[in-house]
């Protein structure tokens, strides 16, 4: 009976631990066919993002250090922990919604690629064969869904804070949707893909719903802070229009 209890606790602990580290799929988890597939999916977006940066740099040469510095700032910002009350632990914001709002989703994909590469190489988070998969969920889904949510929010007349809030929240949930999908497709074993996907996505939820809300609050607050102190940055990057500043 004691062994059963210990094993049950161990299983729960492992399942509880998984969402905290699962934002990046680790090296070796995805089989080669899935690694190549996700790499192929993200490749055109990366190519488009690089092309977009090149074009932008032609018209505004000073934009390149700005992209790099914003990328570095978001990377650093994502290293600072925020408390997750329900999980009783801390987590960190993903930040892709922020780069997508400030620099556009295609540039955000390239920044996410570099950030994921640096994290995989220097922090042992993620991996090289899983880079395509991680970029799909965090860079592609996170950036495009976050940006789309922000755009819809602004079109609906929401204030900057609430648009940022929705973008941060949706971006976070979309990222985990992508991660759960990839894990389910690769590791479903004898179970149905839908069942495994649902199980993984639901396993993320206890930490991910509060975390996505927190990410939304932080991104909304951050945008409002910039608007109050340096609205010229948001104007230059076309996040807000002149009449709103």
């Amino acid at each position: 009976m004691r062994r059963v209890r210990v094993l049950s606790l161990l299983s729960l602990a492992l399942f509880w631990a998984s969402p905290a580290f699962a934002m990046h799929i680790s090296e070796g988890i995805l089989p080669l066919n899935w690694a190549l597939f996700w790499g192929g999916v993200v490749l055109p977006f990366v190519a488009f993002g690089i092309w977009r940066i090149r074009q932008w740099r032609k018209t505004d040469p000073a934009i390149f250090p700005l992209i790099a510095l914003f990328g570095a700032a978001v990377f650093v910002f994502s290293c600072f922990p925020i408390p997750v009350p329900i999980a009783g632990s801390t987590s960190h914001p993903a930040g892709t919604a922020l780069t997508a709002i400030l620099l556009g989703p295609s540039v955000s994909v390239v920044i996410a690629l570099v950030a994921l590469l640096l994290q995989a190489l220097f922090l042992a988070h993620g991996g090289l064969t899983t880079l395509g998969g991680n970029l799909f969920s965090m860079g592609l889904l996170g950036s495009f869904c976050g940006m789309a949510a922000f755009w819809v929010g602004r079109k609906m007349g929401l204030r900057l804070f609430w648009s940022g809030f929705v973008a941060g929240m949706i971006s976070d949930l979309a990222t985990y949707f992508g991660t759960a999908l990839q894990l389910a497709l690769a590791l479903h074993g004898d179970e149905s893909i839908v069942a495994v996907f649902t199980r993984i996505y639901l396993a993320f939820m206890p930490t991910q719903i509060p975390l996505s809300l927190l990410e939304g609050v932080v991104i909304g607050g951050l945008l409002v802070y910039i608007e109050r102190h340096r609205p010229d940055i948001l104007l230059k990057l076309k996040v807000i229009r002149q009449e709103r500043s």
Partner: protein, 257 residues
């Protein structure tokens, strides 16, 4: 905690022959080793790769504590992967059945075997990756990346981001210390406001610093592309390392099959 403690790589002080191997050779081998790890099947190749990569990393003078600290997250993930495979694959004889309150957890032989294989694959992949990063200076990596036709703009972006991560991290730590001194991060609500302000301040400072950096780069002759370090020819020890690695991979594959 400084950014350097997070990244913790001071390869310029390490003159071990494994660190001195040309970055192009390591970059050429890395994808092959990772693909072999994914394709090998079974547990032998992954186990041999893990032991070799971890052994070589320690042999290269990388501190044991740093290496094991880096392996903590992959190891936890490997354990989770093992458990999920053990629960999701229902083939082979039943090894263990645990009646919990609502569900029965049943472990089948095939599931456990596949789980162990996956866990070892994760640990092997991360060990190989860590050998590469902990024994290759950044300049070598970038030179190798350029050699293998990675777009210059991507390398430049990675270089600038890497450079500024350290600076901004220090700045972020200073801002957080100042916020704490002013009663930030005291409770949940204040923490959220403090994190937002911290992020906002980092963005504002990055914006100003980007302008200054661009001016400084222009003064130093920057006209759109960073200067590349000259490529040096491959040495005998590089060729020797490459041949040994290929032989070892072949041997591991044979043992695995």
């Amino acid at each position: 905690m400084s950014a350097e403690q997070i990244f913790s790589i001071r390869l310029e002080q390490n003159s071990h022959p494994l660190v001195a191997i040309d970055g192009r050779i390591k970059m050429l081998l890395l994808p092959f080793v990772l693909v072999v790890n994914l394709l090998a099947g079974g547990y032998r190749v992954s186990l041999l790769l893990s032991l070799t990569a971890l052994g070589l990393t320690l042999l290269a003078g990388v501190p044991r504590r740093l290496l094991f600290r880096r392996m903590v997250v992959p190891t936890i993930l490997a354990m989770v992967a093992l458990l999920t495979q053990a629960l999701w694959i229902h083939q082979g004889e039943v090894l263990l059945s645990l009646p919990l309150y609502l569900i029965d957890l049943t472990f089948h032989l095939d599931g456990v075997v596949r789980g162990v294989e996956l866990a070892l694959r994760i640990i092997a992949g991360m060990s190989v990756l860590l050998f590469f990063t902990l024994t290759t200076p950044l300049a070598e990596m970038l030179r190798g990346a350029r050699f293998f036709w990675v777009p210059a703009i991507l390398i430049e972006l990675a270089l600038l981001m890497y450079r500024y991560i350290f600076l901004l991290f220090e700045e972020g730590v200073r801002i957080r210390a100042a916020q704490r001194a002013r009663l930030g991060f005291t409770d949940f609500r204040t923490s959220l406001r403090s994190v937002s302000t911290l992020g906002g301040m980092l963005i504002l400072r990055s914006y100003d610093r980007a302008g200054q950096s661009y001016d400084a780069m222009r003064c130093r002759g920057y006209r759109g592309l960073l200067a590349e370090p000259p490529a040096h020819p491959l040495r005998r020890q590089d060729a020797l390392f490459f041949c040994s690695a290929v032989l070892l991979l072949g041997l591991f594959s044979q043992l695995g099959s």
